[in-house]
């Protein structure tokens, strides 16, 4: 009985990892599409939205089923609780990827202003945070997420800097308003994705130690 349950838990974690990787992939690909102004690539991200949504529903149902049938306790319970949070965060990350992909159509007709400002750099940092949070969930190792809080501070600072820079270009020329508003929104999406990486990390910490921490 317990053995079967623990095999199921392993499968649950493996499925969750796949979903987290898909969310990360959608975000990474959307940013690449934005940088390269590649509408087709952007469309391929939008096309993934149903897949990630279905994965979330399936994993969530699996969690409830495991709870109902096995009344898990201690770490087993914490793995399931953490998993429910990880899938929500991963879905959000994927959907922000989709939102960024949606801007590519509007932003592909003319060259980017100031090479997208700090957006590509910010995206790299955010995706590293997501990778580390997922790695911690996978490996039960908390080391990759130790410094996530200070990395999140950097992300907040970058978003603020993109906002100010965007305003500057808008004031220089009103024709930039629409484009820069998109940039500011993209920076906002990326900042939210970093918050979701922190959320995943908080829950991995709980899964591992039973202690609640706040990372932001």
């Amino acid at each position: 009985m317990a053995e079967k349950f623990h095999t199921e838990l392993k499968k649950l974690k493996a499925d969750t990892l796949k979903m987290a990787q898909l969310g990360r992939f959608m975000l990474r690909t959307a940013v690449d599409a934005l940088i390269r102004q590649d509408k087709e690539l952007a469309a391929s991200v939008v096309a993934k939205k149903d897949e990630i949504h279905d994965m979330e529903v399936r994993i969530e149902e699996h969690c409830y089923q495991l709870i109902a049938l096995n009344q898990p306790m201690a770490k087993d319970m914490r793995i399931i609780a953490c998993t429910l949070k990880v899938i929500t965060a991963s879905l959000r990350i994927g959907r922000y990827g989709k939102s960024i992909a949606n801007t590519v159509v509007d932003l592909s007709s003319k060259p980017h202003i100031a090479n997208l400002m700090s957006i590509p750099h910010m995206a790299d940092l955010v995706i590293d945070m997501i990778d580390d949070a997922i790695a911690a969930y996978e490996s039960d190792d908390l080391r990759p997420i130790e410094d996530l809080s200070s990395r999140d501070d950097t992300i907040d600072a970058l978003r603020h800097s993109i906002f100010r820079e965007g305003i500057t270009y808008m004031m220089e020329d009103p024709k930039n308003i629409s484009r820069c508003t998109h940039y500011i929104m993209v920076a906002r999406y990326l900042e939210r994705c970093a918050d979701h990486a922190c959320k995943i990390a908080e829950n991995v910490q709980y899964m591992e130690t039973g202690e609640r921490v706040e990372i932001h």
Binding site: M1, A2, Q71, M73, A74, K75, M77, R78, G210, E211
Partner: protein, 253 residues
């Protein structure tokens, strides 16, 4: 555990002949709370439970060292009267064991032994005990029927009523639901929740979900040792000891 304790053991060791069944067990049992003892078969949880009202005295070749305090009194002190101790610390067993007498007589037996003779007083005690044990409505019309005609769950609640009739402070329950169906079990569990208003309950159970449902504190035992004891929520959410973790997640036991 910062709440005031009704029972405290200090370094209790127990041997059945050569077998060291309890090893340096120190536990505080908080008053008016439900404490559950869990652990794999043979870990000593029933043995520990039976220490609290000196039921192990009835077994030959048992040796006990260490201190067991009930309300600041050492229960092994020469001045302790075992009958009084067992009045203060009642027990409910795994299998319902009503006397082959009427329902009324089962409950009235204890108070009679302790000297209550007045019929009206006995009637009052019987009704109150049966009400407390949540079985009054089911038996009030047939108090003079044999207790053996009751269902298993009713018999167990009758046994609880019989324990309550002598006004104990502590009620020990050794797997009280293991011979009952889920509905009878739910009734006993609801009853335990109500009993803690007036009594302290210590329950031994192999059913971890039951321990999690009914208790405020849980102690995990393993091969005669108390490995970990703490608030039930903490034990089942994030136990400190790896052994506890492995047991409650079904990795052994």
């Amino acid at each position: 555990m910062s709440e005031s304790a009704i029972i405290t053991t200090n370094n209790v060791n127990l041997w059945y002949n050569e077998k060291h069944a309890l090893e340096s067990v120190s536990i505080r049992v908080p008053k008016n709370r439900v404490t559950a003892l869990i652990g794999p078969s043979g870990c000593g949880k029933s043995t520990l439970l039976r220490c609290f009202n000196r039921l192990n005295d009835l077994i030959d070749h048992v040796k006990i060292t260490g201190e067991i305090m009930l309300d600041d009194e050492n229960i092994h002190a020469p001045s302790t009267d075992v009958v009084t101790l067992r009045k203060k610390v009642g027990m409910v067993f795994q299998k319902p064991n009503p006397f082959p007498k009427t329902i009324y007589e089962n409950v009235a037996y204890g108070p009679r032994v302790h000297g209550v003779r007045d019929k009206a007083e006995l009637d009052r005690i019987v009704e109150e005990s049966l009400r407390h044990a949540a079985i009054w409505d089911e038996v009030k019309e047939r108090l003079n029927d044999s207790a053996l005609g009751l269902s298993g769950g009713q018999q167990q609640r009758l046994c609880i009523a019989r324990t309550l009739a002598v006004e104990p402070e502590v009620i020990l329950m050794d797997e009280p639901c293991s011979s009952l169906d889920p509905i009878a079990t739910a009734k006993i569990e609801n009853l335990i929740e109500r009993l803690k208003e007036d009594y302290t309950v210590i329950i031994v159970t192999h059913n971890m979900q039951q321990a999690a449902r009914v208790s405020d504190y849980t102690g995990f035992m393993y091969i005669g040792k108390l490995i970990e004891c703490g608030k039930t929520r903490q034990i089942f959410e994030h136990p400190k000891e790896e052994l506890t973790e492995n047991y409650i997640t079904g990795r052994f036991g």
